[in-house]
Amino acid sequence: MNALLQVCQQQLLAADAQLPGHDALSIRRFRQEAMQRALQTGLPTQQMEHWKYTPTRWLTESAYAFHAGGCVGLDPEDLKALLVARGQVHHLVFVNGLLSLPLSGLDGLPAGVQVESMARLARESPEALEPWLGSDVTGADQGLAALNQALWPDGAFVRLASGVQLSQPLQLLFLTTSFREPIVTLPWSVVILGEGARAQVIESYATLGQGDHFTNARTTLVLGQGAQLDHLLLLAESDRAHHVGSVQATQLGASRLAARVFAVGGALTRHELHVALAGAEAECHPDGLFVAGGRQHLELHSWIHHLHSHTRSQQWFKGVLDGEARGVFNGVVRVPQGVREIQARQQTDNLLLSDRAEIAAKPQLEIHSDAVQCHHGATVGSLDAEAIFYLRSRGLDEECARKLLVQGFIDVLLQRVQPAVVREWIARRLNSGEVAS
């Protein structure tokens, strides 16, 4: 058996009693069944259709260990750059997989908003979690997701009652500190918006230090009737880290989801978005950007399931690749038979800054209905030599000209981020990834 699977199985056996929700039969059984699925499915390999571009050797070769979690002597100053301006967002900080209350700040949460640790919830009121245990949209090939389901130690639980509006963004920061021995963390977060509720949730992943670690993350989003969620994901872990994560969203009628992902970090970062549009007039707007350099491998996948008639999706994914980086965009739009009046748009545009960088951009439309308006497009290009000359003729050196053009390329997606304080923070985080500085 694969070393990682073995470690995980041992963890489940050894630490079972400490895993949150152990005392609740439903959760315990869910974990055990998930472990069984993980063992059956095995870890992903490049033979699996949706993993064929993803290097998987690191999964079998590196030895990731579990860590007791928590933080030792972390100074809030260390986190300054990793959090959107203090005082302007509510924030929960998770360190090496576990919530750190001293580093978090939830002052002034309005009534009707519940934000807490999944671990605590699973221990104290497991029945509140039960409805969401099996709510993933995902299909096969999900050995890693199953591992997360089996072993998640903590994460954020966010619930807005009907009609409640969260006026300040809520940030969930998942921080891993480097150790000599690389660790694996498996956060699971759940965000539930009641009918007509509105919120912005920023989920960000970062590393303190330059080391390798493996984040296997899962986020469940549930949007009630007419709810509006702006979910923003920033993947900016160390250039030696590995990250595989998914966001699973279920949307009821007339709900609106903006799902934005900005991926800049990781030796390998793979993000999957799964959306089930399950009620009339539900719409989702996934945006994505990866900016990769060096030998990074970044992947964005989206699966939009138009399960109900009269639903809309509009996606725009961009990639910027330098050095010997590899990028993958795979966008699946699925419209089953009998579902009507669908609008689905998908666009992916990619910029190669080096002739050794590579991109695989694949729109995949699985439309089994006629009453569908569907558009998709994919472009791959390099920087416009005319534009570089134009900028140089104004006095900008070539490097500055190239930077400005790259910034211009990603600007459209950045400008869609509101409010300005979040947009500027994202821009700074992208800058610290250098390509766009």
Binding site: A387, Y390, S393, R394, G395, Q407, G408, D411
Partner: protein, 251 residues
């Protein structure tokens, strides 16, 4: 010292000789016009002066304020005060005119060892120049030339020139696509930079702009050389007769 001096310049593009023996000198304070048939090499000359790599110099020399212009990179020329107004201005998605000009202006300041302008002072400077051209306030925040009409692109070129205050402005068909009011504004802009420290090279097909800026000299570029030079009377003659009568001189 001449602002610009071109001696026996031969230029090829993709191994095809385009300019063969151009001679030209602009003194401080002068405005010269270059006219000539389509494809005669006017833009090639302008691009060469701005440093476009595709233009291969096979012989000759170019001096800008005594500097060997050909030895400088395009950005060094710009910082030293050379400005090219493009015949076909390029669209730069996602980069505002304000951002471009701030980078350009401060690059020039650094090159000249002058203090950079802070964001607020620069915004005021920019706003004032845009006002002169009658450009709307949001213009500066729009991405450079994206979705602009032909005439708007030309006005944007002129705005950049006014902000960067070059010592040598080369304006390649800045008048094409302009409506009558815009033409007057552009002429005003060109005249505003007419001072004893600067010179302008205007490439145009029509005397209507020249009527408003009164060039000191008018040259005809044909067959890769300047075959005849004169004053405004030459421009009027060309307007009446076309270039046919010059063909013998050209060959």
């Amino acid at each position: 010292m001449n602002i610009l001096e071109i001696r026996n310049l031969h230029v090829s593009v993709q191994r095809k000789p385009i300019l063969c023996g151009v001679e030209l000198a602009l003194q401080p304070g002068e405005i010269h016009a270059i006219m000539g048939p389509n494809g005669s090499g006017k833009s090639t000359l302008a691009n060469l002066l701005a440093g476009r790599e595709e233009c291969q110099v096979t012989a000759g020399e170019v001096f800008y304020q005594g500097l060997d212009l050909l030895s400088l990179a395009p950005e060094e020329r710009a910082r030293a005060g050379v400005f090219l107004g493009f015949q076909h201005p390029v669209e730069i998605p996602g980069v505002s005119t304000a951002r471009l000009l701030k980078e350009a202006f401060n690059a020039r300041q650094r090159y000249r060892r002058l203090p950079e302008m802070d964001a607020i002072a620069f915004r005021d400077h920019l706003g004032a120049q845009a006002g002169k051209l009658g450009l709307p306030a949001d213009w500066l925040l729009r991405p450079v030339n994206v979705g602009f009409s032909g005439g708007e692109k030309k006005r944007n070129e002129l705005l950049q020139m006014l902000v960067l205050e070059p010592h040598l402005a080369i304006l390649d068909e800045i008048d094409s696509g302009l409506d009558i009011d815009a033409l007057a504004l552009v002429a005003e802009g060109i005249n505003a930079l007419r001072d004893p420290g600067r010179a302008t090279l205007l490439i145009t097909h029509y005397p209507r702009l020249l009527d408003r800026v009164a060039p000191d000299r008018v040259h005809v570029l044909m067959g890769g050389r300047i075959i005849v030079s004169g004053d405004m009377a030459l421009a009027r003659e060309l307007e009446r007769q076309g270039y046919g009568w010059l063909e013998e001189v050209a060959t």
